[in-house]
Symmetry: C2
Subunit: 421 residues, 2 copies
Amino acid sequence: MSKIFKGTKPSRRSFLRGALAGGGALAGGAAWADADPAIVEKQPWNQYLGDGVDARPYGVPSKFEEHVRRQDVPWLTADPISSVNFTPLHELDGIITPNGLCFERHHAGIAEVDPAQHRLMINGLVDRPLVFTMQDLMRFPRENHVYFLECAANSGMEWAGAQLNGCQFTHGMIHNVMYTGVPLRLLLAEAGVKTEGKWIMVEGADASGMNRSIPMEKALDDCMIAFKMNGEALRPEQGYPVRLVVPGWEGNMWVKWIRRIEVGDKPWHAREETSKYTDLLPDGQARRFTWEMDAKSVITNPSPQAPITHGPGHTVLTGVAWSGRGTIPRVDVTLDGGINWQPARMSGPSFDKSMHRFYFDFDWDGKPLLLQSRAHDSTGYVQPTKDQLRAIRGENSIYHNNGIQTWAVNEQGVAENVEIS
Amino acid sequence: MSKIFKGTKPSRRSFLRGALAGGGALAGGAAWADADPAIVEKQPWNQYLGDGVDARPYGVPSKFEEHVRRQDVPWLTADPISSVNFTPLHELDGIITPNGLCFERHHAGIAEVDPAQHRLMINGLVDRPLVFTMQDLMRFPRENHVYFLECAANSGMEWAGAQLNGCQFTHGMIHNVMYTGVPLRLLLAEAGVKTEGKWIMVEGADASGMNRSIPMEKALDDCMIAFKMNGEALRPEQGYPVRLVVPGWEGNMWVKWIRRIEVGDKPWHAREETSKYTDLLPDGQARRFTWEMDAKSVITNPSPQAPITHGPGHTVLTGVAWSGRGTIPRVDVTLDGGINWQPARMSGPSFDKSMHRFYFDFDWDGKPLLLQSRAHDSTGYVQPTKDQLRAIRGENSIYHNNGIQTWAVNEQGVAENVEIS
């Protein structure tokens, strides 16, 4: 390990200098010791004036970042209107997913809702059924929280072994956003939940009328009716103008374009909690109501879409970890397929039920690597291997695969999705 | 104050119900007690299928949010390539500024830098002058931090009295972003700062060659060489592919498109720290090196661009506060121009040198209001009035106006920028 991790004084520089000299050479001519001012002075972008402050009222990424995009996989589903695309985790850093890159999952395409016409109804076992306009919702006290949203089917293809070559596709049905909204308990209090009201049914305003059952205890705990993400209005594909936030629970329950909350005395057993979003066990029985997302992690760099592009020497490994049950105080990393584990360095905010960022800074010797990460959450739960999961759950499952992911890196720095036993 | 702020049980609902009934009526027919399912079932967006997951690889806001935009003020400057636009603070919530809405300030327009060709040089009083490619920088250990960036000229027009009618224009030269980057001290350590190296000069790669002097103590403390903002690559207008982050200090020092760091034994006295970004006092002397941004706050809603649009009753007031010297543990709010002050409710993460979000939930009686907010930072400093500032600094200043802002709200809910003595 480089001294530079611990030392901040100018004198402690010898190690990294050696390691990075190789990188300079590989980068094609950028010489570390040859600091000729002409290198930085003669560039096309300082020879002309650029666009002014009136050019883009709403900004967009650089043209050099066009490869950073959500990607769908056409063969996965029959039609893109009931399908998914994936967050490019290997292109991101920190813990915030920018709104333009949050993965999408729709069941009838993106509803384009006019906020002036949208209504949210609360009915069923309440003292007083209510209908709220968006303006009405803005008069309730608001809160701000960062939460991950993960589709229960994230990594679902991997039950059958290493399938997809890239963390965008194996783990990209997740995003992590700061929400602003009204605690759901305040709206339920306004309607007055009757004593026998033990469940709610939440329903979307899109053409699929997506609906799910949620126990009252969760509804009154930390659920939110959110109208902002990362500071601005929700994006259309994330439920504009208002969505449900169900912290730590599977994404399908976070109903978008939410139009109705019905209070009842039992679950509805809607399509998406019976024929879908249940896990078929080896004995033919299905697990019921598997709402919470267990602790999980993935190394985002290096990974199949993000190879090591320099020679031996100093290398930054990074990834993300999360748990539906709390925070992630620790992530372990192995370079040799699980023989030796070392703690990663966590960096950035640690919030309950939020994505966490980890780094492992090491000196690559240029030999093949078998990379894995293993998350520990604040309840003491440790992320299992895929084989440990299969031993209990079999291989019929689609959902809730939180097994440890392996990337094999070869001498050229190229990474591949593999399974090891 | 409504009981709903403290009570989460369904029975504590009587107050808000009464207050909100007025809002429902004002909204034009949304009846609180008339929860007919037809209200939510018959909407155009559930009658057809929407766009699929292949429609927008990089997402954009709803068409109903087109009014949410950065705005420039053409008469402020001679040309938009050396000018500023403003963050629409009144349309945002939480503490994160989305990348597309971060205000811009350029001196020669937006440099469109090719990251493969960009270089960062460190030279001057160092043991070993170095030139880094972007790939080289990615091999140093990274950190993640949320910081505000405020232009020293933010609120500058207001030295002469209430000028601009909207917090976007009075306070919108600020944004708050999660940065990923390399601590500057690691790069300086790699080059080896000589004993006599007490200052650095940082220089941008755009056509203006923007440069500023920074004392070595700050450079080695918390400055970062950042390449990501809110998870993704920096936007071109924010310095893509790499910018300097100088936490808590005036935005002009956060050099964008940074291409060179020279180590020296004294400040450079560049244009932007002599003829500009100094504060002219009443006696004709100028304040030198006024780097830190003092504690400041503003109410974003209601405000001139965001009137109250409902009748008397429950109202959410919100705003933001920040300090270049630490956190904001407390913000006070007054509804009567400073006769009575009450503590606001803080909500969301509190980070060092970051924007903080505050709320004040109150029952509006429909009478005129004189709204002010007053930030307290973690050093004990309290935001001053504009008159207190003028008593010391006179009225020649452009920069560093952190005085308390007043909005006058009339019976119709319309807000106006005013000054009171």
